[in-house]
């Protein structure tokens, strides 16, 4: 096994996140991607024919699609060196007792059991490519809420899955959506029946725990008319020397008068390519919110998008990115106004440190006939060092005259005077800087469940440790 790379996040980070356990997968595919690997994945999962066909078709699309010609440098990403599927144990743990001790140990160190006791009502925690532990409260089951891993959903709710799977993000959407469609494993399936209000956030915790293991989870969320749910996803990953790939697909459907919020705090280790496609459709008077925080990874490309399909639909994207040495966070959001009287807001905050680079890439599109649509885009970039970089690509395509579009972009540096002011009150340099940063990202932090807000601040503190002289 390769030695973990020494990275600049301080020992505490290593102790808390930078470890890996000695779980032997019971099955894994060979390195690299072939038709045979795709078939093997489907065979191992004992999938119905329609899903196997879906995978194989997606595989062909993946081969035929070129790599994106825009955006961050992906030249060192090698599809041949990745293991596309690992199966850590034979069956899924239904209760905590059934989860193997070594996996429990991992979760203990991540703090999950405690969170579960205190905050969680249901946990779907993904270990490698398989969900090992899943728990859904009785009350939800009785309300008809489904919260299972997607593999289970394919087996147990085939009609629901088949109706919606791949309809929001078809395999030919982009190369990585095709890749995910071919090799996906795990992820969550959530179904909230009409009028049901799931008032405690559904949470899943993802982690990569094997060298060169890809993570291709597939999440599908359906919120029926007048229903509400909040899904929270947190990610940490151990530190490895070779490049790993995380390429997820998240599809969300919010029907008339429904509301969905999807919150992510992502902290992949600094060698992971994090290339994720997230898209939601919102129907009449529905509300969709993406809250997206990206701290780790080597390269992130992620632009959560919302299609406002019917009158009165609303969408909000809040995106925060922290790019430190050698990282490129290429993030933002997309909103597409298809119907009249729709409104949206994109708020993007980025922090660049050392040689880090943060890019805002966003699209606002208003179709003809989407009268009285309103959209406001705000991007703020904070630069911590002379070499840190930020850039902005705000694409705006408007086909309708009767619209209100606002766009504001600001780049700021931490001022010496601010630092001096805080230090003059007794705060050490790194404390002062961390405080300024936490203030800068406060618009995201205040949208998070409290334990995630605390976690986010802690992660940023760790990133800032030893960074000032």
């Amino acid at each position: 096994m390769a030695q973990p790379q020494t990275l600049d996040f301080g020992q505490d980070y290593q102790a808390k996140y930078g470890f890996y356990d000695t779980i032997e997968p019971v099955f894994q595919t060979e390195k690299g991607l072939t038709r045979r690997v795709v078939e093997e994945i489907s065979y191992q999962k004992d999938e119905p024919k329609w899903m196997r066909d879906f995978r194989l078709q997606a595989y062909e699309i993946f081969l035929s699609k070129p790599m994106p010609s825009w955006g961050p440098d992906l030249s060192t990403l090698s599809f041949e060196d990745i293991i596309y599927y690992l199966k850590p144990m034979d069956k899924q743990g239904r209760s905590w007792d059934e989860v193997p001790d070594e996996i429990k140990n991992t979760f203990d160190r991540l703090g999950i059991p405690e969170w579960e006791r205190k905050f969680l009502a249901g946990v779907g925690a993904q270990y490698d490519s398989e969900v090992v532990y899943h728990n859904l409260q009785e009350q939800w089951s009785s309300q008809g809420v489904i919260f299972v891993d997607t593999d289970t959903a394919v087996r147990e709710y085939p009609e629901l899955v088949q109706e919606y799977f791949g309809t929001i993000i078809p395999p030919d959407d982009n190369k990585f959506a095709a890749l995910n469609s071919a090799v996906w494993s795990g992820g969550s399936f959530v179904y909230v029946p009409a009028g049901v209000n799931v008032d405690i956030p559904l949470q899943a915790y993802f982690r990569i725990n094997a060298k060169n293991a890809g993570q291709f989870e597939r999440t599908l969320i359906i919120v029926e008319e007048g229903a509400f749910m909040h899904y929270v996803e947190g990610c940490t990953a151990p530190i490895y020397t070779t490049d790993a790939l995380h390429s997820a697909v998240v599809e969300i459907i919010v029907k008339k008068g429904g509301r969905a919020r999807y919150t992510t705090i992502q902290n992949w280790s600094h060698d992971v390519y994090n290339l994720v496609t997230k898209r939601a459709v919102a129907y009449q008077d529905a509300v969709m919110e993406w809250i997206d925080g990206n701290i780790g990874s080597k390269v992130t490309m992620k632009y959560p998008s919302i299609y406002l399909m019917e009158p009165g639909a609303r969408g909000e994207v809040v995106s925060v990115a922290f790019a430190s040495d050698g990282q490129h966070q290429d993030t933002g959001g997309k909103v597409v106004h298809v119907a009249p009287n729709t409104s949206s807001r994109i708020t993007s905050k980025s922090i660049s440190k050392g040689t880090g680079r943060a890019t805002y890439r966003g699209l606002v599109k208003v179709y003809e006939g989407a009268e009285n649509s309103r959209c406001n885009v705000e991007c703020d970039a904070l630069l911590l060092d002379e070499n840190a970089k930020t850039d902005t690509y705000p694409y705006i395509e408007i086909e309708e005259k009767d619209v209100t579009i606002g766009h504001e972009a600001r780049v700021s540096k931490v001022s010496d005077e601010q630092m001096f002011y805080l230090q003059s009150r007794g705060l050490k340099k790194d404390e002062a800087l961390t405080l300024i940063i936490s203030g800068f990202i406060e618009p995201l932090a205040k949208e998070l469940p409290m334990e995630y807000a605390v976690e986010l601040n802690r992660l940023i503190e760790l990133e800032m440790e030893g960074s000032v002289g």
Binding site: F420, Q423, S424, R425, L427, L435, I436, F440
Partner: protein
């Protein structure tokens, strides 16, 4: 016997890329329990002195020394000085968006007194001092100085001072921009803190604040050094005759 708290000896200071010194052989000793007023026209170097004392990194000290409680502090970071009990009430307090006064001051309090304080316990402390400065309790959860009026910023400086209980406080034009009511409130806050161990340096253009915060000693500063020192009556005389009078006197000498 008086114990010196702050001793500034022959201090020469300039900006890194300039020839001319802003402070030119500045000398001042403040004993424990004393309140000094430092007056002078614009550009005489008063605010530079205040920043140098607090440890602003943007200046170059070419010679001289500053002793606080007998210790040389010139090489110390601003936060080390603060933890020793030095405080500067800023002429232009900085805005820090998204950082609440409660969170910020609690952290500062913990550093100043090298202790942990529970959120609720600190809340009580903060409320007491906000009330004393006639600020609404809601300020506790507002972003530090963001969107505050000039007067609110100045009052918050005194709240911070009251919370952090420094031994030596420099008030850099805390009175400017305050209406008469606010000036009284601020002065009351300062006077409440005066004690035999604590000292103040009140930097001002006008003698108005000195009617409320009565100084033991008044200094006049010009061209980077103190040119005249007297008692309370000096500030009154200055107000009547103007700074040109002092300059005229100097030339006369």
């Amino acid at each position: 016997m008086k114990t010196p708290l702050l001793e500034i000896k022959d201090l020469w200071v300039k900006l890194p890329d300039e020839e001319t010194s802003i402070l030119q052989g500045f000398n001042l000793t403040i004993n424990e329990g004393e309140t000094h007023a430092l007056m002078g026209p614009n550009g005489s170097g008063k605010s530079t002195l205040a920043k140098i004392l607090a440890g602003h990194p943007g200046y170059e000290v070419t010679s001289g020394e500053i002793l606080f409680k007998g210790e040389e502090i010139l090489e110390m970071e601003p936060d080390e000085r603060a933890r020793m009990g030095f405080f500067l009430a800023f002429q232009y307090p900085m805005e820090v968006p998204g950082v609440t006064i409660a969170n910020f001051l609690r952290l500062a309090y913990q550093r100043r007194f090298n202790t942990e304080v529970k959120f609720l316990q600190f809340h009580g402390i903060l409320m007491k001092h906000l009330k004393a400065l006639e600020m609404e309790p809601t300020f506790a959860n507002r972003s530090l100085n963001e969107g505050f009026s000039g007067g609110e910023k100045k009052r918050l400086e005194i709240v911070q001072m009251s919370v952090l209980q420094p031994q030596m406080a420099v008030l850099d034009e805390t009175d400017s921009g305050l209406d008469i009511d606010a000036l009284k409130i601020v002065s009351k806050g300062v006077n409440a803190m005066r004690s035999p161990e604590r000292s103040f340096l009140v930097i001002t253009h006008y003698q108005r604040i000195l009617n409320y915060v009565e100084p033991d000693v008044v200094h006049v500063m010009m061209d980077g050094r103190i040119v005249k020192t007297g008692d309370r009556s000096l500030s009154v005389e200055l107000e009547q005759k103007g700074y040109e009078w002092v300059r005229g006197e100097l030339v006369g000498v």
